[in-house]
Amino acid sequence: MTAPPIDPTTQPRRVSGPGREGGRGPTLARANARAGLALISPTLIIVLVMVVLPILWTVLLAFQQLRLLNLRSAGLFGNFTLDNFADVFTSPDFWGTLGTTLVYAVLGTASAIGIGLIAALALRRRFFGRNLVRAAMLLPYVAPIVAVTFAWSTMLNPQFGVANYWGTRLLGWDEPIAFLSQRSSEVSIFGLTFGIPTALLTVIAFEAWRSFPFAFLFLTARLQAVPATLEQAARVDGATPTQRFRYVLLPQLLPTIAVLSVLRFIWTFNSFDDIYLLTGGGAGTEVISVSVFNTLTARGDIGGASAQALVLAAILAVLIGLYLWRFAPREEQS
């Protein structure tokens, strides 16, 4: 779900327990180890049964021609086949979906972190009511996704939405824009006409609105930890605000931004709710998650859905692996 388990510090924690002060012999340590295992085991069992095993099962399902209709008669092992993957990779829809997913994830992540950074900087200095403003900034992230997508789709409705009402009157739009159901629209700037993917940009804008608070929260926490002396020194040396940001603040924030980018990219890449609720995957916004869902429920094709989901996870793993391999050593130095 949407919760953020951020622990960039995977270094071993300091071991500290009632029995760890040296010299009291191995028995207490052993008792501690036993108690620890006993206390953690319910969690382990649930995670194994409800998370790890299902993931492994998906692998089995992906190699079977299994449909929802003949599900009750099906066992764990059926006739294994590669057909599902052949279908996935030869389908032109899949490559389009993958492209949409990538564009959505990259632009959604970048804009969410960009806005989050601007917000964190703007709210850095104390002013009256700052805490209230900060709390208000977090609302889009905590509010129920169903309610906010409904509010957005009503706002953007071409017939009675408030956006089109004021857009046609104040901004001089020729006709109402169907933000969520129009695949592309012609825009002409300086006599050049080109098409932009309206619905896709709209869901990206929603994603930025929805998740910038997350970046804002973490960047604010990081900003508070920047030692004031650094900036004072820079100011004494005559650095202007932009220079102080570029050479003092930004290097301090970069590791946090890097972690945020990875996490936000993963979650945006996997996200289902937002697009399903806003457009249902129509008008050129079908991402892989939505496609998996439709394959599973509308077509009842369990094997096909599993294969797509596995491919989704594999692509994600490759991208994250590439990122870590390419950038992780450098982060440690900075």
Partner: protein
């Protein structure tokens, strides 16, 4: 940015015709105010619009869709009555949906805490085999797409006949939330001084006694915050509710109910907006009640960068 404070420079600044520092300071002072106002409008407007539409009569909302406020004479709470009433009484049955959501969410909170508290304590305090690997395993769980889990869980719960039951959904929620819950609780337990526990142990307290009399009471605010956090996640969850419960209207959670009704043309938008407000209010109340604890708990590791 802290840029408008007048810098106290040692010595007289050399006179220049164009002072970049002064220009930037003035520029950002203005920009900062503009950015804050713009951000506030953008974040809050959808919520304001939600409330606005929910208290306007439908015909007025259709005739004048651009209105940005509501006159007192126009104020109409009929949408709320209509959305809450049972389907037999011509309403949308949100009371039933809310009951379902409360059952699932409270069940998730109780079960998650029962399992996560001992687990978090163990990860924080006790050195057992595989302790470090467990954190990595939990982290990895979160990187897998939820939709990847959705397929096998859907198949599995269909086969054992638990799909469509609130219990099945509850188990899925617990398994999804456990890792975050343990992560947050562990951060809190780490802040409880070990010496207190050692003192209690020296005085003859058993391990469970230490947990019950020392650690839990000290971590109580954190546990409350965690409970509220779990409640929020369970209340907001959509994908698994959709997969598991969609066939039986009596079991819909409030999120699922709203999304399903939003697709139908017969139900007035104003009524659904009232439904959105009803879904959102508990979350906003809980959020403001626990905001400080929550944000601290989540960003505990972030200061290190």
């Amino acid at each position: 940015m802290a840029m408008t404070e007048v810098a106290k420079r040692p010595g007289p600044a050399p006179p220049r015709r164009f002072n970049r520092d002064a220009v930037e300071n003035r520029l950002f002072a203005v920009l900062r105010v503009l950015v804050i106002i713009a951000l506030l409008i953008v974040t809050l407007f959808p919520f304001y619009y939600m409330v606005l539409l929910s208290v306007r009569p439908l015909d007025r909302a259709l005739q004048d869709p651009g209105a940005l406020w509501v006159g007192l004479s126009e104020l109409d709470l009929g949408s709320y009555v209509s959305v809450l009433a049972a389907p037999d009484a011509g309403g949308q049955g949100f009371l039933q949906f809310m009951t379902n959501s409360v059952i699932v969410a409270l069940g998730t909170v109780v079960l998650t805490l029962l399992i996560a508290l001992p687990g978090a304590y163990a990860v924080s305090r006790l050195d057992f085999f595989g302790r470090r690997q467990i954190s990595v395993l939990f982290l990895a769980v979160y990187l897998f797409p939820a939709i990847l889990l959705a397929v096998p869980l859907f198949v599995f719960f269909t086969q054992i006949g638990l799909r469509g039951s609130l219990v099945g959904l509850l188990i899925v929620y617990v398994s999804q939330i456990l890792a975050v819950s343990i992560y947050m609780l562990r951060n809190y337990f780490d802040t409880v001084p070990v010496s207190l526990e050692q003192a209690a142990a020296l005085d003859g307290c058993s391990r469970l006694g230490v947990l019950r009399r020392i650690s839990l009471p000290l971590a109580m605010p954190a546990i409350m915050a965690n409970a509220l956090f779990v409640f929020m996640i369970a209340w907001n969850e959509f994908l698994f509710a959709l997969l598991f419960l969609v066939e039986d209207r009596d079991r819909w959670t409030v999120s699922l109910g709203l999304s399903q009704l939003a697709g139908s043309i017969e139900i007035p938008t104003t009524v659904l907006m009232a439904g959105s407000v009803i879904v959102t209010i508990p979350i906003i109340v809980i959020f403001f009640a626990s905001e400080k604890l929550l944000t601290e708990g989540l960003t505990a590791g972030a200061e290190k960068g």
